[in-house]
């Protein structure tokens, strides 16, 4: 079976859905494809209120934003293909797809927008493979989507926003959070999140890390200890905590296999999660007509992912002449303004700077490539 589309969006998270809405509402034939049985990516497990300004849905909970985006997708006439894995992507934008683990098909598109998100990083220590050690996001899925308590007594590794927010959500679900350990001498995430769990009596142990997790075929206890300035454990500082759940919240890595397959050029940007497909301000990769948005283009937040998805959509629309250059410019201007706002402050500035580096690396690669012709 073969299908055709003007725009193929891969990934139905915040970035992908916004790309779908942006392109669909201007008349393009759009397919948004996702391997999961439900759309929304990780939005539906975000039960906290979002920050930022009103236009970025501040005060609205993640799953409510998810519902709203799905509604808008429907209005925009976006075709949603779920339970469909894109296993390959050629430079001619032919995507190999397997539906429901059985039927094979191809989709050919004029433009492709990659919105494949990210996966959680892991951390290795003795006992890290025991059942009961899991990603913080995995625990969040288990409790907030499937309504199953991942554990009764938890240890959280990492104090970034994911670690802090998931700790709070574990408490909300009825799990005791014994401690949050952070190897650095300071809390990684927003103060407001840290204060919230500290008020509820959760110990946030800075300059601490997990040394070992023990148990008979499942997590029964964790050994934590203090680390020195070089992040090495200090002997004699170990203590044992009785837990049945250890959550890892130690960062995310962009999922960009399809960009590799399609021949996109990458750069290494550790502050944004590692290897990132180079892209310009309009989210176009080094492969013309292929765009990238959201965490796949560098780890940020759902709110920036949504704006980036729109930005990628505008680029695709303009190059397919669904909108005029003037219209594209005016939409881009508004979105870039929004992104600037979202990348401000102590947690935003560095992301703005890293993104600028990605744009200039993209330019260098393009100029070099142009020189061969």
């Amino acid at each position: 079976m073969e299908k055709k589309a003007n725009v193929l969006v891969i990934g139905a998270g915040p970035a992908g859905l916004c790309a779908g809405i942006e392109t669909g509402k201007s008349g393009a034939k759009v397919i948004v494809i996702d391997e999961n049985t439900r759309p929304g990516g990780q939005l539906f497990k975000q039960i906290h209120r979002f920050f930022g300004s009103e236009q970025h849905h501040a005060g609205v909970r993640g799953f409510e934003i998810g519902e709203m985006l799905l509604h808008k997708c429907k209005e925009a006439g976006v075709e949603m293909m779920l339970s469909s894995v894109v296993w390959g992507l050629s430079p001619e934008f032919r995507a190999g797809v397997v539906r429901e683990g059985k039927r094979s098909m191809t989709i050919t598109a004029d433009k492709v927008i990659l919105a494949t998100g990210a996966s959680e990083n892991s951390l290795m220590f003795p006992g890290w493979t025991l059942p009961g050690v899991m990603g913080a996001g995995a625990a969040q899925t288990m409790m907030n989507i499937h309504r199953v308590l991942p554990g009764k007594r938890a240890l959280m590794i990492g104090s970034g926003n994911v670690g802090l927010i998931v700790s709070y959500q574990l408490l909300q679900a009825g799990c005791e959070v014994k401690a949050v350990v952070e190897i650095l001498p300071r809390v990684g995430g927003y103060k407001v999140h840290a204060n919230k769990i500290a008020r509820l009596g959760v110990d946030i142990l800075i300059s601490h890390t997990v040394l070992e997790v023990r148990g008979r075929e499942r997590v029964e206890e964790a050994i934590v200890g203090r680390g020195d300035r070089n992040l090495r454990p200090i002997p004699g500082t170990e203590r044992t905590i009785s837990v049945d759940l250890v959550c890892l919240a130690v960062g995310l890595t962009p999922l960009s296999e399809l960009a590799w397959l399609a021949g996109c050029k990458f750069g290494y940007f550790p502050l944004l999660g590692g290897f990132v497909p180079l892209h310009n301000r309009g989210m176009e990769t080094t492969v013309s007509g292929m765009y990238i948005a959201g965490d796949a283009s560098g780890i940020e937040e759902a709110s920036t992912a949504m704006e980036e998805g729109r930005l990628a959509g505008v680029g695709a629309l303009e190059s397919l002449a669904f909108i005029s250059a003037a219209e594209a410019d005016s939409r881009r201007k508004e979105i870039e303004q929004n992104l600037l706002m979202l990348r401000k402050g102590p947690y935003g500035d560095f992301r703005h700077k890293e993104k600028e580096k990605i744009y200039s690396e993209w330019k260098k690669v393009k100029e070099k490539a142009g020189g061969y012709h």
Binding site: N36, S119, M134, T141, V148, Q172, A173
Partner: protein, 108 residues
């Protein structure tokens, strides 16, 4: 353990209760939820044993990427239980090593 009351989330939509069979044991589950969630709710945390070291593995990434949670489901080995929905009457087995591969699994 299932979360019955939640301070933020609306009540769980009433799903259809079905039975699945895990290593011969009858386990109550909701149709459509991932197999892994049903097992965890029933207190089952060991999903498979590794091939060389025979170490237990459970639910880890919850996204269908890490393959820690694979089990043999209805005779098919290496099914990612964190993203495979429950159907009534499913036969789920703790997997040893890579499991036994059937021809039909490789034919598509």
């Amino acid at each position: 353990m299932r979360i019955e009351k939640h301070p933020v989330l609306p009540d769980r939509p009433a799903g259809k209760k079905v039975d699945i069979f895990v290593d011969g044991r009858k386990v109550e589950a909701y149709e459509g939820e991932p197999i892994a969630a049903a097992l965890w709710a029933a207190g089952i945390k060991k999903f498979r044993y590794t091939r060389k070291e025979k170490q237990p593995r459970g639910y880890f990434c919850g996204l269908g990427r890490c393959t820690d949670c694979v089990m043999t489901v209805d005779g098919v080995a290496n099914v990612r239980t964190c993203i495979t929905p429950v159907k009534g009457g499913m036969v789920v087995q703790t997997q040893k090593g890579l499991g036994i591969w059937k021809k039909r699994q490789m034919s598509w």
